[in-house]
């Protein structure tokens, strides 16, 4: 039932957001090297979870869907801009089933396209602001700046760990990184921006932060787990995240549970260029995550976060009357568990 509701709301709000994005991605010149690529990632699909959360939060508190759609379009454009740059930073080859943009367009043009898309993301916001009035305009732009800053800081943390080959990390370090890199853009900002539209003023500083953090972190941890377990299930190349050196919760746990010799082997694996990584080392690291219980511990932690997210949801949305939108938002955290099952 919840899964059906989530699919329905994602589809509906996703369609509204795509329609709101369309006017900002019109053909122009230079087409081949800018305007066509700008429409590339937004046209590849995606679940549209971020804009759906924003629109559902706005509607749950009584704002109009039309106003929320413009904000959702702005958020989705920014998200796609960041994806272009993230794919470059991560050295990714595939995005949503097709080659990553820099693989076909080259680094320089992909970076430029990402820049243009990021700046274009301001346009739906500025187009809507005169209608909202100065108070809401100030609150929204301040909120967007906070979100952008947090996201960049989180990305810097993760890239910095990989660059500096950092291994002495605590689970809390991972949670801070995920809160910044993932949660502010994916869950916290959408809830807060939706509330601003409805309340006509900035929400209290802590509003929706706990719910967005616990839900977003649980989602990311399950994503990381699937990245390891799906290897066995689908027989694909072993250890994608490990090969990329991503400091997941499981990897952090594994660092602390290996003896010195084995920890040295793991560190050498992470430090090696991908082309020089031994596939047997990747298989060994994946197996160790399972043998030493790192995967199970991460799953347990994520389950706890889902429970905390459910608790925090009732606090954050206590003032919203029961509605389809509220039911959708309430179902998101448990949906994370079902998705990982």
């Amino acid at each position: 039932m919840s899964a059906a509701l989530i699919d329905e709301v994602l589809e509906e709000y996703g369609a509204l957001t795509r329609a709101a994005i369309q006017p900002y991605l019109r053909p122009g010149q230079p087409a081949k090297h800018l305007h066509t690529p700008m429409a590339d990632y937004p046209g590849r699909g995606g679940k549209m979870m971020r804009p759906a959360i924003l629109m559902a939060a706005a509607s749950a508190f009584g704002a109009s869907a039309a106003d929320a759609a413009e904000l959702a379009a702005s958020l989705e454009l920014l998200h796609n801009a960041l994806l272009i740059h993230d794919d470059i930073e991560d050295g990714s080859e595939v995005r949503r089933g097709a080659p990553a943009m820099h693989q076909t367009l080259g680094l320089e043009l992909a970076i430029n396209t990402g820049d243009a898309l990021a700046l274009t993301s301001l346009r739906p916001l500025t187009d809507a602001l005169p209608r909202f009035g100065p108070s809401i305009a100030n609150a929204l732009t301040a909120e967007m700046h906070r979100m952008a800053r947090e996201t960049a800081e989180g990305q810097a943390m993760e890239l910095g760990w990989r660059r500096d080959r950092t291994t002495a990390l605590a689970p809390e370090d991972y949670l801070v990184m995920v809160m910044k890199k993932t949660c502010w853009l994916a869950t916290i900002y959408p809830c807060r921006a939706g509330a601003i539209l409805a309340w006509r003023q900035a929400p209290p500083p802590a509003a929706f932060v706990n719910f967005g953090f616990f839900f977003g972190a649980a989602f990311q941890i399950y994503d990381d787990i699937l990245n390891i377990e799906a290897d066995d299930r689908y027989g694909k190349e072993i250890g994608g995240d490990i090969a990329e050196g991503k400091r997941t919760l499981m990897l952090i746990d594994l660092f602390h549970r290996l003896d010195d010799a084995k920890r040295g082997r793991l560190m050498n694996l992470l430090a090696a260029p991908r082309a020089e990584q031994d596939k047997q080392d990747l298989i060994w690291a994946t197996r160790k995550m399972k043998e030493l219980g790192s995967l199970d511990r991460a799953r347990t932690a994520a389950r706890g976060l889902v429970g905390a997210a459910c608790h925090e949801f009732e606090i954050a949305f206590a003032d919203a009357p029961e509605s389809r939108d509220k039911a959708f938002l309430r179902a998101l955290a448990p949906w994370t568990l079902a998705r990982a099952a």
Partner: protein, 281 residues
């Protein structure tokens, strides 16, 4: 960054197509890596544009004339000192969590997450205060005043050319007066909503212009008179363009002068021009 939405449920499906390695350690895998910059001392002000930076502390003489010496020099001085850590004053991003493995139970993991949330909330408050201080500093600098100082400084050099874009009131363009005969588009004179001001002066001056109606093909201007005094400046010359040329006589009395810009010679007023002549220091 792999984010929740963009990784499909069958996450491993495209893993075999992904290629990544720790940044900065894989120069031979065909991907671009970041090199250290040869010059680590930034050129942060306009004076540095015209000479090679050789490591000396940047001169702030020009900035002082603009009242900006305190504003920029502090940041530059910090960067000019090779021993200074530019991040020394920055607050830590997060407390140094003690490296540790994951706890075995969900309660402990949730407690850790709440600790992170609380810590991040406090950090967010600190950032908000920091940003508020930045905004207050910007307000204290009073941007219009700085721009005036900039204009005054440059006018010391002899002449100044400033482009001001004054948006003519939309209503004046689109809403005809009652009883007025609408002009045929084909015969309507060319109008403009932008204006440039060129000033020739031997003393510090500032200028501004405001258009509230479209200009015609041959705009004109009336002599400028001083508020609270009897001073009169020659009528500014308005060229088609339109550009307003204002020449400030050497013996002009300090004060603020206003003049009317006409849409056409003998036509209706279309805007105002204002020149402020500073008192001698």
């Amino acid at each position: 960054m792999i984010t929740p939405e963009d990784t499909p449920p069958h996450v491993g499906a495209d893993l075999d197509q992904q290629s990544s390695a720790p940044m900065g350690v894989a120069p031979d895998d065909g991907r671009m890596t970041l090199e250290e910059l040869a010059r680590v001392l930034p050129i942060r002000n306009i004076w540095g544009l015209f000479k090679a930076y050789r490591g000396e502390a940047p001169s702030t003489a020009g900035l002082a004339a603009l009242g900006l010496d305190q504003f920029n020099a502090a940041a530059n001085a910090q960067r000019a000192d090779p021993g200074a850590d530019p991040m020394a004053a920055a607050p830590p991003l997060a407390p140094a969590w003690k490296p540790a493995p994951l706890p075995d139970d969900a309660d402990e993991a949730t407690r850790a997450a709440y600790a992170v949330a609380n810590q991040q909330f406090q950090a967010g408050e600190a950032v908000a205060k920091e940003l508020a201080q930045t905004a207050a500093m910007a307000r204290a600098q009073d941007v219009p005043t700085l721009l005036n100082r900039l204009l005054e400084t440059y006018s010391d050099l002899g002449s100044v050319f400033v482009q001001l874009v004054g948006a003519a009131m939309a209503q004046a363009q689109s809403a005809p007066q009652a009883g007025a005969t609408p002009a045929a588009p084909a015969s309507a004179p060319q109008t403009s909503s932008a204006i440039s001001v060129e000033i020739t002066a031997s003393s510090p001056v500032s200028a501004r212009a405001l258009l509230y109606a479209p200009l015609g093909a041959a705009p004109a201007a009336l002599p400028m008179t001083r508020i609270g005094g009897d001073g009169v400046l020659p009528a500014p010359v308005v060229n088609v363009g339109p550009v307003i040329h204002i020449t400030i006589p050497q013996d002009a009395a300090p004060g603020e002068y206003h003049g009317i810009i006409l849409a056409d010679e003998g036509g209706a007023p279309a805007g105002t021009a204002t020149v402020t002549i500073a008192s001698p220091a």
